[in-house]
Symmetry: C2
Subunit: 226 residues, 2 copies
């Protein structure tokens, strides 16, 4: 696509391939996207993929590792701030904690111009056989355990199992809402006026309103009041 006359574009073939791969993988799926498409979009030769990455699978792995890494780093920073506030004796409450969970993902999903592609890749990662199981580092798991622990501190009347149910509810709401905002993704149902564009703050706010109340519900056995 882009000519190589521009020295800036020429600068780093590896980075250009990585960047193009996000878009192509997102719109055509890991398996049906070809290295030819990706390298053409990157203004590179198909052999460059095997030079910089070892194989198509390694390219996929690198793309996803970058994505997970970005979310995890941002969540870690936000969570550290939250945990520090707790250690300092402040009572930060549920919303800032959920903000630490939600905002990094929403940021990834609403940034221009690749937000929609990012979400498509995250959804694919859950079902594609091209994405290895061991991609998520143990570091990821630690962060989620820290979220669970922080939630358990605020919601002592809920069991760990109940917290995990709701944690998954919250994560699902997050990814699904972002998916609906992404034109990349098949909107199975087209409502008359679903918004397909929204800024980070709006999305975060709507998600926090919904999930905060969800977490505050009583135990599943109990009825609503509590």
């Amino acid at each position: 696509m882009s000519r190589l006359s521009n020295p800036v574009e020429q600068a780093d073939t590896r980075a250009r391939i990585l960047h193009a791969a996000v878009d192509i993988f997102a719109s055509r799926s890991f398996e049906s996207a070809t290295l030819k498409e990706i390298t053409e979009a990157a203004g590179a030769n198909i052999a460059a993929v095997n030079y910089y990455f070892r194989s198509k699978d390694e390219l996929i792995r690198q793309v996803m590792a970058d994505l997970f890494g970005r979310v995890n780093r941002a969540r870690n920073v936000a969570l550290l701030a939250y945990e520090k506030a707790v250690a300092d004796g402040k009572k930060p409450g549920l919303e800032p904690l959920l903000d630490a969970l939600i905002r990094p993902m929403v940021h990834l999903g609403t940034e221009m111009p690749q937000g929609a592609a990012n979400i498509s890749l995250l959804m694919q990662a859950r079902v594609s056989p091209s994405v290895p199981d061991d991609l998520s580092s143990s570091e990821d798991d630690v962060i989620h355990e820290r979220f669970i622990a922080a939630l358990a501190r605020i919601l002592p009347h809920l069991t760990r199992k109940e917290i995990i149910w709701r944690y998954n509810c919250a994560r699902g709401a997050m990814i699904f809402v972002l998916a609906e905002l992404s034109p990349n993704i098949h909107q199975i149902v087209r409502l008359a006026d679903t918004q397909r564009k929204a800024d980070e703050d709006t999305v975060v706010r709507e998600l926090i309103v919904f999930t905060t109340q969800g977490f505050l519900a009583g135990s599943a056995g109990t009825t609503l009041a509590q």
Copy 2:
């Protein structure tokens, strides 16, 4: 896999292919699953796919149409009962309405032995280029509009936009929770003791508890109390 000696198995090659396709597509993705794998698992010949369906794409389309059809029919039945109760002057409230939305999907996702595969397919359908955009009939859209309308009746203080935000939150919670129960699907994060098996009623109950409270939250501008 299964020998053809059994006349029951021999009965309907088309149905056997359709059944095997669900499993294979779910575990290996639409694109990387091959017709050879599917027909072997179905105890059929590869040419049978092109005889009963026109092509691989048409097979995919048929698999997904069956899935969507099942959910929509079940939701329609439940929604009709709800709408009748409303027409009769009863005030059914939020939980039975959300039950009509959630239970059909949870039923699909927890049935044995293909529940996990069903969810994997539904997730793939949102990102795979093999699934045509026009698969969802206008009938689907009508059902969702009926849910939105029923929700708006119960929650008159929320705008249509706010209802849609939360409707998507609820649907996301639903699909994500079901995905976490499915061993088919890459669990990006492995929590120590996430339950990977749960009966329909338990899953429905946890989802309804969370989403009911989510819908009952005040407008996003407002703070929590209301």
